[in-house]
């Protein structure tokens, strides 16, 4: 794309937390249960008279995520009601957070620069509508298993400037959430849902209007791209949208502010809802749920459950073990798993094995244990002292080879290594043996 237009993108990401029970009731948190409507109760069905009671774990996990994203935590927070009518929303309102989210002002680093996090808030998921044909009739069915599942929303500032960066941000966010082990982020099942707000900035007109200020003025419209369930579709959807908007702008018009969906089969975006139809959600504090004080003590308790920061872990491993983040990140998701992995690294060091090679083998050869690694590299346990005895013997009976080596035929050392291995009747690490033999020559 030419540099006339700069894409400006902000993201909203919904993630289902994997707490044992629901956000406001004791129902089992299993939104994808095979049978519909089995994990329901008066609360998540919104029956008359039922009242919500907030899930403490879900609040703690939301704060945990906020802390991992470097957010500030509101000392006083509350839940609000967001009103709209939809068949999968049994109360006619969703319990969400409006102006006092648990977390605000965080940051996610990407290779293109930091993406500021506006807020992280907690709400309840809705039920699911299933459109089916039963006995020749088109019907809509409602499954309330998902109703009341804790749902976290992470909102960014418009700090994303390309489809590639959007994808990297989303992937990084999923990585952090999985690292905290608070959600599986299963995109296909709707455990993680992406939305991108996209608009194009006319760079040239901004330059002339806004010379002194490095800060740009946001375009006067934005298009919300919704219901994206894979990173690839996110990238493609944004690219399609950039192209579509550019054409409209080139023709001298402004794209209309609207919500659009992404059709993966046709690889296009399509109108879902325009601004004129946008709802007034009539937010107000939910009187059923008292405001929540996050005391210093409680916050410290939550902090104490935080694992080593994700970025810090990679930096440390790179320095300590010479590990490439893009390789080692393939080997674990949760912090718990990263700890187990590091236990293996320590064992490697103890046994004088290369962590780097071990990690390589884990990624490319799918091995899981140090024993497997040893077997694979065919290395037997043998001490330097034992080897020295054998080396001395081999050097004695092969004076020609020794002479050739000293005369400059360096490759003859390979012959000597082979002879030592044969004599020892063991598989020994090649490099190690070569180094040992060299020390004798």
């Amino acid at each position: 794309m030419d540099k006339k237009y700069q894409p400006i993108i902000g993201m909203e990401t919904h993630v289902e937390l994997k707490t044992k029970s629901g956000m406001f009731c004791g129902c089992k948190n299993d939104p994808d249960a095979k049978k519909p409507n089995i994990h329901t109760c008066p609360v998540c069905l919104g029956l008359p008279g039922a009242l919500p009671v907030a899930n403490k774990k879900a609040i703690e996990w939301t704060i945990k995520l906020g802390l991992a994203l470097g957010c500030k935590i509101n000392k006083l927070s509350k839940f609000d009601r967001k009103h709209y009518f939809y068949p999968d929303l049994p109360k006619g309102y969703q319990i969400s957070q409006y102006d006092m989210p648990f977390c605000y002002q965080g940051k996610v680093e990407t290779s293109f620069g930091p993406v500021r996090i506006t807020r992280v808030h907690l709400e309840e998921d809705t039920g699911k509508l299933i459109h089916q044909n039963i006995n020749g009739h088109n019907v809509s069915l409602i499954d309330f298993n998902r109703s009341g599942v804790p749902l976290v929303e992470v909102v960014t500032e418009p700090d994303i400037f390309s489809s590639v960066q959007a994808k990297e941000y989303a992937k990084k966010l999923r990585q952090i959430i999985r690292y905290l082990d608070i959600s599986d982020c299963d995109m296909e099942k709707g455990g993680m849902r992406l939305e991108a707000n996209i608009s194009l900035l006319n760079v040239k007109s901004q330059m002339t209007n806004n010379k002194s200020n490095s800060k740009f003025k946001l375009p006067n419209y934005k298009v919300e791209l919704k219901n994206i369930n894979s990173f690839r579709f996110l990238e493609r959807g944004i690219e399609y949208e950039i192209e579509r908007q550019r054409e409209i702008l080139e023709s001298g018009k402004t794209p209309i502010q609207e919500t659009r969906g992404y059709n993966a089969e046709k690889n296009i975006t399509f109108t879902q809802r325009t601004k004129e139809e946008a709802a007034d959600y009539r937010y107000f504090p939910d009187p059923d749920l008292p405001p929540i004080n996050i005391s210093e003590k409680w916050l410290n308790e939550i902090k104490s459950t935080l694992p080593e920061p994700f970025d810090g872990l990679f930096k440390r491993w790179q320095e300590k073990y010479n590990l490439k983040p893009e390789l080692v990140e393939l080997l674990f998701e949760t912090a718990e798993e990263s700890k187990k992995l590091e236990e293996l690294f320590k064992k490697c060091i103890k046994e004088k094995l290369s962590v780097e090679k071990f990690v390589n083998a884990m990624v490319h050869k799918k091995i899981k244990t140090i024993e497997e690694f040893k077997k694979m590299t065919n290395i037997d346990e043998v001490s330097d002292d034992d080897l020295k005895v054998i080396i001395e013997k081999i050097l004695k009976v092969n004076p020609k080879a020794v002479a050739d080596y000293k005369a400059g035929k360096i490759n003859t050392i390979n012959f000597l290594v082979g002879m030592v291995m044969r004599e020892a009747k063991k598989k020994i690490e090649f490099q190690r043996l070569q180094d040992l033999i060299k020390s004798f020559l």
Binding site: L51, V53, P87, Y93, R282
Partner: protein, 471 residues
């Protein structure tokens, strides 16, 4: 008869639970065709339960320690969710709704041995002061069938008044327990917000709804609160403060107690007859050892305006769930009053108006609360009339919503403040009951009962029974 008398009689075998319950149903059948207090009767189940309790009493006379309300016939306002018993909220929108669960309070009453006689009529969704906003037949006042029993817990009030039951439950969002108690010669409690669980009570305005009850005597009323009060893990707004043994302090002296008379409540619009009755009652309280002094609640004038912004806001939200998808009736079936409140509330919550209405009203609410707190620095309790007028005629105010709203002018401020208020009978004027409201600080129910009990013992208005005028 009171709960105490019944316990004695059941223990001694003067009569059985079954006889008591049968008597209850025969009284209801005698009067209710004209009074319309009940929407649903639970006769078969109630008799079965009574039979079961008779067997229990035979086996163990101490069963009353475990079940303090054993055998007591209770009527539940139709906002109280009852498992497998139709619960309509007085509206035809959910006219065929059979809930799959019991409200916490219902559960507590049943566990305490109370027998659910039936579900009572009310202004639909609790919206009203007269009972006339029901989608069913209008409940009549047993003292004069041409007059309203007070609302919104109209059926519970009338049913206790004519002797169909000993206890009638109610919800009080702005007046709905105290007004029918005042119009029907009953003791009616609006407890402190958070004292009694709201779980399973169909919500009107969630930050106001207080779950109370009406009885003929103070003792009975206190006894029921001992059962219903307490923290509930299913209601985050209940408070973990110890529940007092409210009946234990009844009879204690109120010597030296300071009673406040808010000057803003004794103004134009208050019927002279009502005013005189209250003044007379204050003399009786002074005779019992209390002192009376004037106090001020300076923001009283703004209370009704704040109330009628905040309550419809919450109402519009709480009625959203009746969307016609899962419960039979569509939203067109809402009555005029519900529609009025949905529109008002949707307006005051909409973006651009929220700050000017909802938020401003919430600030006024804080000021009202502070008024009461300041008054309670000077006095122990406040006494005000329950209603500015005598029970009014059916049809008198239905076409003038504003006049109807003003029936609650002495009651709504208490709900804004979240404090308790207790109606006791101040006296009778022209053959009609006149109610007097005792108001105390948060969680002062024990104190309110203490004052009310001594006054009741002195005056004994509870012995006067309805004469079914114009019946």
């Amino acid at each position: 008869m009171t709960i105490k008398d019944i316990e004695e009689s059941l223990k001694k075998g003067v009569f059985s639970c079954q006889e008591l319950v049968k008597e209850s149903f025969s009284t209801i059948k005698k009067h209710d065709k004209k009074i319309n207090a009940f929407l649903t009767l639970n006769e078969e189940q109630a008799l079965k339960q009574a039979n079961h309790y008779d067997n229990l009493i035979k086996k163990d006379k101490n069963i009353f320690d475990e079940k303090p309300l054993l055998g007591i016939p209770v009527a539940l306002k139709d906002l109280f969710t009852t498992k497998d018993i139709r619960t309509t909220a007085g509206s035809k929108i959910i006219g065929d709704y059979n809930p799959p669960f019991d409200a916490t309070v219902v559960k507590k009453l049943i566990d305490a041995g109370a027998i659910i006689i039936g579900k009572t009529n009310e202004d639909a969704w609790g919206h009203g002061s007269s009972g006339e906003n029901t989608d069913y037949e209008v409940t009549r006042n047993p003292y004069d069938l041409n007059r309203v029993p007070g609302g919104s817990s109209s059926g519970s009030g009338a049913a206790v008044a004519y002797g169909g039951v000993l206890v009638g439950t109610g919800t009080d969002t702005g007046s709905s327990v105290r007004l029918p108690a005042g119009f029907c010669n009953l003791v009616g409690l609006k407890p402190t917000y958070g004292r009694v669980s709201r779980y399973g009570i169909i919500a009107m305005a969630s930050s106001f709804d207080s779950i109370g009850h009406m009885t003929r005597t103070v003792y009975d009323n206190a006894k029921v609160l001992e059962v219903t009060a307490g923290v509930d893990p299913f209601d985050s707004t209940t408070v973990p403060i110890k529940v007092d043994q409210y009946t234990k302090k009844l009879g204690q002296s109120i010597k030296g107690m300071k009673i406040g008379l808010p000057k803003e409540y004794f103004v134009k619009g208050l019927d002279d007859k009502v005013s005189n009755s209250i003044k007379n009652s204050l003399k009786i309280l002074e005779k019992l050892g209390a002192t009376v002094k004037e106090v001020s609640l300076p923001h009283t004038d703004y209370a009704m305006a704040a109330y009628y912004i905040l309550v419809p806001s919450e109402v519009s939200s709480n009625l959203s769930r009746y969307d016609g998808i899962r419960y039979g009736g569509s939203r067109e079936m809402f009555g005029a009053e519900a529609k009025r409140r949905i529109m008002l509330g949707s307006y005051t919550l909409s973006s651009g108006y929220y700050d000017a209405y909802y938020l401003k009203a919430a600030k006024v609410r804080t000021l009202i609360k502070r008024d009461f707190e300041n008054a309670f620095k000077e006095v122990d309790v406040l006494i005000v009339p329950t209603s500015p007028t005598l029970p009014f005629k059916i049809g008198e105010k239905v076409d003038d919503p504003l006049q109807m709203y003003l029936s609650d002018i002495f009651l709504c401020p208490v709900n804004l403040a979240g404090i308790p208020g207790l109606n006791v009978q101040s006296g009778f004027v022209d053959g009609f009951p006149v109610g007097m409201q005792i108001i105390g600080p948060q969680f002062s129910e024990e104190l309110l009962y203490k004052v009310a009990y001594l006054f009741e013992q002195e005056t004994q208005y509870y012995k006067i029974r309805p004469k079914f005028k114009n019946g």
